[in-house]
């Protein structure tokens, strides 16, 4: 599963793409991402605490205005199924001194996160695609960006 062929879009419900969110702080943004994962039926509510705990341990900011909040190893018990949520903050969020426009919330059982993060990182490494994600106005635009992952 580390060949980069993971289909990110299959894990992303249209109702989990929220393009005009606003958050006063990093933790607020994480709670919103966590709530979206709960609403998607991917995790139990306790996963949100695991996400906040992980963020305190190390920032999930990955560059390009994007953060990828997710739970700790211990929080995996709260995961029902692998899922992604995409939250866009048009006004940005201060994320440990970094300006975050997009938070991709991640829930993954077992080692599912490795292939998932790999596929996501492939997209974000292309500055044009990262910029397009930061300015995405429609769920269709987000789907198009995330489906465009090369196997190599």
């Amino acid at each position: 599963m580390s060949d980069g062929t993971t289909d990110l879009t299959a894990l992303l419900a249209e109702s989990s793409i929220r393009l005009s969110e606003s958050a006063a702080s990093r933790d607020d943004a994480i709670r919103l991402a966590g709530a979206a994962l709960v609403e998607a039926g991917a995790v139990d509510a306790s996963y949100v605490d695991a996400m906040l705990e992980r963020e305190q341990s190390v920032s999930t900011y990955v560059g390009e205005g994007v953060a990828i909040p997710h739970g700790t190893l211990a929080g995996k018990d709260s995961v029902r199924q692998d899922a992604l949520v995409v939250l866009r903050f048009p006004e940005g969020v201060d994320w440990d001194g970094n300006h975050v426009s997009v938070a991709v919330g991640i829930a993954a059982k077992g080692n599912g996160h490795i292939a998932l993060l790999s596929a996501l990182a492939e997209v974000l490494m292309d500055p044009d695609k990262a910029a397009a994600l930061r300015s995405a106005e429609t769920p269709a635009a987000v789907y198009e960006l995330l489906s465009d992952t090369d196997a190599d």
Binding site: D3, V62, H70, I114, L117
Partner: protein, 89 residues
């Protein structure tokens, strides 16, 4: 070119937290280091996105390389890091 072959000790692989700690350490050495996966894909070790994109799991072998000045010390430090379980909590 100096290089080190390391087996990833982190029980969950080189993902968000271990990958983040690793790329921060790589940037701190001030030496450009290349990380190459067993599949033969190479990225800048100091790029968190690059490291994540390799999708490296626990127990996989990777190669660290650099031909810059001070390479040996930097490679030793980073190899030790990857040989440690960075996700223990």
């Amino acid at each position: 070119m100096p290089e080190r072959t390391v087996t990833i000790a982190s029980s969950v692989g080189l993902h968000a937290r271990p990958a983040s700690l690793f790329s921060q350490a790589a940037a701190k050495t001030g030496v450009p280091v290349t990380l190459t996966s067993a599949a033969g894909k190479s990225v800048n070790a100091a790029s968190i996105l690059g490291v994540l994109s390799l999708g490296i799991g626990h127990g996989e072998e990777v190669v660290l390389s650099s031909d810059a000045e001070g390479a040996d010390a930097a490679l030793d430090e980073l190899a030790t890091l990857l040989g440690t379980d960075l996700d223990k909590e």
